[in-house]
């Protein structure tokens, strides 16, 4: 008996160091994503599960960051690597589909408690690919038109009104084209939803049909005209910069960036947002777990913590002004009214439900971008 308990102790001691695991989290996105994990989520996780550590790796802003993670998976898959070097990845919506189709990911959502709190449709379908169970949204992000109410009393409520407004006020509207960041891309997608001539729902949900892509000529012709009276800005931040300096009066922006810039004083507090009909796209960032991680249990714990109502309230909504990844009502319970109101002051939850659209499915997305390159000069 005594010997047995010694043996048990020995086993326990031998197992102890094994518990001190290091979790590698690769994240696409700007530096603020890396900071979020390094400065907030990591320490919180290490406090909750003493002994384990979190290492965050930033792969760069925008789609290229997610592209790098996908390529990393491609490489490890091609090399038949037994254990992959990423335990948790944070990627853009567009890249989740290929990862699921290529069988890189673990179907983990039903394994964690917070999985039940996910309500939005974009956790089931990612730009036309069924990803149900493989992803947990970290947050939802939305684009909208920011404007200066000192100069514009009645902002355009729809794309049609916007087109007229721009004609009447040349160079006062600025956006960053399609090569300088996703807020410009989003504006163009919204333009096609509005004037594309086809059914916008087909663009968002599929199926992909070559015929559909032939219907956009008039829309791009209109956009070409529109661009003559618009100012082209250098990047997402470039649009905000120009708004702040008063060089333009209106432009498409990411809602979270807009609020963060206001909070840090880089943008006047008077600036406002409007979401024009029929709507503009937004997108979630997703947490995924590669199937060949060596720390599956720990990775699930990490994501469960990250998607818990408390962390979503404190980290996602309060710190970053992102819309929560899980059911907003569950998050609301953890927040004071003021913080909640701030997030929904210009764009109401109803606006968001009606006019917050997904991006088109990947083949339409690419076709629209390429048509823009071809037709808008």
């Amino acid at each position: 008996m005594k010997r047995l308990s010694y043996a048990a102790f020995a086993v326990a001691f031998a197992a102890l160091p094994l518990h001190a695991e290091e979790l590698t989290v690769a994240t696409a996105g700007d530096q603020n994503m890396v900071d979020y994990i390094n400065q907030y989520l990591g320490p919180l996780f290490e406090k909750t599960y003493p002994g384990d550590t979190v290492r965050a790796v930033g792969t760069g802003p925008g789609d290229s960051g997610s592209q790098k993670i996908l390529e990393r998976f491609d490489a490890q898959s091609a090399a038949n690597t037994k254990i992959w070097d990423v335990d948790v990845a944070v990627v853009h919506e567009k890249f989740v589909g290929p990862m699921v189709t290529k069988h890189y990911l673990d179907k983990y959502r039903s394994d964690i408690d917070t999985g039940k709190l996910v309500t939005r449709g974009n956790a089931k379908m990612a730009l036309g690919t069924d990803v149900d169970g493989y992803v947990m949204p970290m947050f939802n992000s939305q684009t909208a038109i920011a404007y200066n109410p000192d100069l514009i009393k009645n902002p355009p409520k729809s794309y049609t009104e916007l087109a007229d407004w721009v004609k009447a006020h040349p160079k006062q509207f600025g956006y960053n084209g399609i090569k300088g960041g996703a807020s410009g891309v989003s504006f163009v997608m919204g333009w096609i939803y509005a004037f594309g001539g086809g059914d916008a729902n087909v663009l968002m949900n599929g199926p992909f049909k070559e015929d559909e892509t032939k219907k956009w000529d008039a829309a791009f012709k209109g956009l070409n005209e529109f661009n003559k009276n618009a100012t082209l800005t250098p990047g997402n931040a470039g649009t905000l910069d120009m708004l702040a300096r008063g060089e333009i009066a209106m432009g498409p922006v990411w809602v979270d960036m807009f609020y963060s810039w206001q909070a840090s004083g880089q943008l006047p507090p008077t600036m406002k947002l409007v979401l024009p009909a029929p709507g503009m796209p937004g997108q979630p960032m997703h947490y995924v777990i590669p199937e060949k991680t060596a720390h599956k249990a720990l990775a699930e714990k990490f994501i469960a913590l990250a998607t818990s109502p408390k962390v979503q309230a404190e980290g996602i909504v309060k710190r970053f002004n992102w819309y929560p990844g899980i059911d907003a009502d569950k998050v609301k319970a953890e927040l004071d009214q003021a913080t909640w109101d701030k997030l929904f002051v210009d764009i109401t939850p109803k606006d968001l439900a009606d006019k917050g659209k997904p991006f088109p499915i990947a083949p339409y997305n690419n076709a629209i971008l390429e048509a823009y390159e071809k037709q808008v000069k």
Partner: protein, 294 residues
Amino acid sequence: MSGGSLFRRGETNHPLGTKSMSSKRLLGLLLVLPALLVIVVLFIIPLILSAVGAFKVDGAFGLGNFVKTFELYTQDIVFTLLITGLSTILIGAASVAIGGYLTLGEHPRAVAILKFLYRWPMFIPFIVVGQILRTFLAKNGMMNNVAIELGLTTPLDAVSLLDWRGIVIAFVWKQTPFVALLVSGAMASLNRDTIEAARNLGASRLRVLVEIIVPQVAMTLTVGLVLSFVTMMSVLSVPLMINAQSPTMLTADIAFRVNSYGDYGVANALGIVSLVLASSVAWIYLRASMKERA
């Protein structure tokens, strides 16, 4: 010429026999091998792979990527050539002016100040140049604000230079010091007799610069400009920061193809196009240097 004479000297003066000669050669080859391997593995092979990739469309070989490249990006190819060409010309003019003043300047203090100042931009990375100019050249940026304060322009007339002009300004500002450094070095090592003689005969300083000095440093100037041209062709940060619109530089298009479409085929084709543009300039340089050696 210098390489050739060294080699001859080694051969004729070497007291050792042929056997040790060949083992020595083998040793030399071994010593070069690591460097050669690095170049082959990290440079030559990826270059070949990317060249092959440019001709691959859906797994089969074809010219589809090039068709698409020229269909979508002809305007950008021309734009890239014009921007880089114009920048190269301006860099050449500015660096000859700087080198010329350093060589012919008559106020020692002004020469010393210029000598101290002109090199600074060389140490600033392109991305930082892009960032600085983004706020400096904007419509309500520092440059226009200063001009407005000085009464040189009015707020209504102020224009943003954040388009092709911004890219040219960034390139010229960043690359001039590099070429000026080479050129002024070459000018400083010239035999001053010809300069003094021309001055004594009454030639103006400008005439001395254009007719006596520049022809003698033409080779160095060409080298500097060719290197600058190739460097500017490959800069991504400046067009991205200042003007990622249409038309834009090829580097921004390559990044866009990869990041937005995951399309390496057309990106590789664009890469080949810019390689051809860059090497055509290198060819001019090689031909000139061959002529000089002959």
